[in-house]
Symmetry: D2
Subunit: 284 residues, 4 copies
């Protein structure tokens, strides 16, 4: 499934600062980047890097002058999602031993204080046996109990706030999903993406849970079709998978994001069909 994605972000630099951007489409066995361009205007030296612990594609900019600049990225990406059948919830999850690379996603993180949510998570979801059904129930609970409210939260808001304040944006929904999963000993991680015709247009965030040996995507906001996501990154939470991490003082003055299908036959799949309660997509 081919998508054309683009983002244009403008920044104003107030003091010499370092900016780490994470806006490139990820390359995975299930997602091919067919072409891409990154332009910084005015021209600032950029430095791409990855880390031992992830395949996220970071870009670092060191800006020493107090300027405005614009970062423009665009790409054609081919994604390949597998739809989980409606009956998946009835199947037994195969036992897959959790390896050392998965275990870090069981631990609490900056915005996902799973250690504080254990009793609540167990009381609310502990009775559901099938792990896939359990995570679906978490995503549904968030959708029905947390109000999507632009501007209601800040970059410091965490799952511990959202579980009580009951409002937030995609980032907060994802953090709460992750925290509830980890509280139930289900590995879970943050997932950023471009999303097909997301309205209002912006970067999007969902979460992935590790079930039966695969990372499966859940979107508790239900704002984007589950087969219309172009993955940027995964991480423990928005602390290490933010679109932008700023060291210094830089403000974002404008942001324009687009994600369109290049295939007329694309059939966006939403999770709000009552008959299909609980469907989810898997990244392979």
């Amino acid at each position: 499934m081919k998508f054309k994605i683009s983002s244009e972000v403008e920044y104003q630099v107030h003091i010499p600062s370092t900016l780490i951007l994470n806006i490139h489409a990820l390359r995975t066995p299930y997602q091919k980047v067919l072409s891409e361009t990154l332009i910084v205007n005015p021209d600032i030296k950029i430095e791409e890097f990855t880390s031992r612990s992830s395949i996220n594609r970071y870009v670092r900019l060191q800006i020493n002058e107090l300027i405005s600049f614009k970062v423009s990225y665009s790409a054609i990406v081919d994604t390949n999602f597998t739809l989980l059948s409606q009956h998946h919830t009835n199947e037994n999850t195969p036992f897959v031993p959790i390896d050392g690379n998965i275990i870090p996603f069981l631990f609490p993180s900056r915005y996902c204080q799973s250690d504080k949510l254990q009793r609540l998570a167990y009381n609310q979801f502990g009775g559901i046996q099938n792990i896939y059904s359990k995570v679906l129930a978490i995503a549904d609970w968030i959708f029905f109990n947390i109000e999507y409210l632009s501007g209601s939260t800040s970059s410091q808001t965490s799952a511990y706030d959202t579980i009580t304040e009951r409002a937030g944006v995609c980032r907060d929904f994802a953090h709460l999903g992750i925290a509830l999963c980890r509280a139930l000993s289900i590995p879970a991680r943050y997932f950023t993406c471009y999303a097909f015709k997301l309205f209002p247009p912006d970067f999007h965030a969902c979460f992935e849970a590790y079930i039966g040996g695969s990372w499966i995507i859940f979107d508790p906001t239900r704002l984007a079709p589950l087969n219309g996501l172009v993955k940027i990154a995964s991480g423990h939470d928005a602390a290490d998978a933010a679109v932008a991490s700023i060291f210094g003082n830089v403000s974002c003055t404008s942001i324009v994001v687009n994600c369109d299908s290049l295939e007329p036959s694309f059939n966006p799949f939403f999770n709000n069909n009552a008959e299909l309660k609980g469907l989810s997509y898997q990244a392979k």
Copy 2:
């Protein structure tokens, strides 16, 4: 410098649970494990693992019966520390580009909410130019302003609590040091260890800051000699480098830890010598 270390920890299992222990001495170019034994009594199957992102030596135990058990570890370890000279604070830190494996230690984590401490850190320590002096000032500030008070904190206490409540244990001291460093864009990580003649005997925690291309150890508690540490692990914070992570319900009923020098000539080096203000040890 050879040390004999040992730990005996007893647990009581209340429901079938998974326990991840991180009590083995680490193997690094600067620390050799000459011999070691791990005994679990009664015999429970253990599974050792590491992860792509660290060399920490984790052990997993799956305990399905509601039993008590004891984990006994002992080892002979040869460590090799380099003392930083008193004049290091006057030297310029060589510029070393931060690579992708270091960057994760700039981000806030569960117990080190550096994003919330930026103004405070900048106001308090921003005027100090030399990075090494800056981190020493952080460690000294913690030593003089936070009261070491056993039992004053819990496993949920974080740097954001400690900066105001002004009391804690080694773990809290380390978390605060890490958070203040990261708030100033200095990579920092949690460091667990056995510590020579620590009183009362227990596992110990310090922090490392990444300065001039090296991870340098700081101990804001000043409870252990800086050349008497046998490293167990490093991590973002106690979330991924805890001595024990419990998934289920297991209580720790007893803990006995020892760390003795095997060399009569060992000269424990403490940081409380007024003439040597700010000395620190480096892990190489």
Copy 3:
């Protein structure tokens, strides 16, 4: 209904300190103190006082020596409770304009951050029309969702913690009940008391909601009979109605509390009778 109550509390003074105790039985039209004695040993000058805004009976002790001392209080108290009928939930609450003395109990307070619980309270209980039924639903929800767990909380724990961490003691249960009521614009206040045969013996805390012109008692712990309470005080929360407020450094070393009925015919009324779901007592 006559009760014999007593409390013996021992303190150790570490620095010259002021102690405000609030352990006397309250005098109200529905509660007569037939006799009482207060003994401080060794003899320390005590000073009784009340305030313009409440009838709570405070005692102040200024202790300038680093001593141990014991405060012993005992009293015979005659209480007069009115049982609300089971059908009260079907009646319309009479409209009673809220006067200026009640309004302060609508505002958030130290341990009852009702401003942070508004969406949650509205989603959970907003659909219940009858105010009395609404508060009963709150008390029931707390009973079924919060675990009574001695030692799980501290004097800093507030309703905002308890709503997520789902464990606490009577004080935490009361704070959560108050916060949820206020979040729904129902005046609510903290209520401390001696409680008939409470086990383990201690001071007890419940909450009162202002419904139809009366303050009605609710006990979400269900640990004491609703007709076996001897009121000590009411307040915004434990900040102004604590049994002891310490200014300085004084530790409590022992506490013995008793509350017995003096009438053989006393029929303790518990709220755990399935047929009587939702009964509550009213302080008149």
Copy 4:
């Protein structure tokens, strides 16, 4: 000293709601209201009330229609401040026993968690003996360490946040001052007012500390002349002395506030004169 004050506030009602306004100039022995008018447009029934525990002048509006409305208040007020001499800090504070009406201002409240700030307050200010000097040091510390930053905080921000995040508005400055005082066993309360030529024009908030038998005003923002304040209310904190308390869903769409002197000879007294470090005004 005569001032002409006025405020015009516009609201949009989203659901039937109750609004409690607290914008009238207070009547005290040191502040006379010579004339005043309150107009609500369109005409909504208003209900004035006070409470047993304060002389604050509250107005209640019950708005059942989803309308916009404007509240316009204006008054001529004659205030009478006493300037404390610069040498006051050298005098001994007379011993005045604290009565039951003052004691509530020693307890922690919603936005002033003094119980969490005790060690910090004691370490920072405990060494200052004279109480007046101690509170001046608190106000100065806030002025020098907290950044006045419009929009940096919300109605949920409390002293516990501000002590670490180091930014806020007048309300946050006042809350922190109160919390630090109470942490040191000095009674302190929230103080709202109209302020002479405050820029940008708005309602203002300071705090009062109870020293030597008087409530003395401190303004850690230094934004208004200490002899140019027209008092509206005092309270435990913004929870019970807010300009507007909303029960329902009402948004404020516009706010215009003015405070001018009617006396050409008025000599505004600011606290930023280096020679007059620590001057403060007293409400009598």
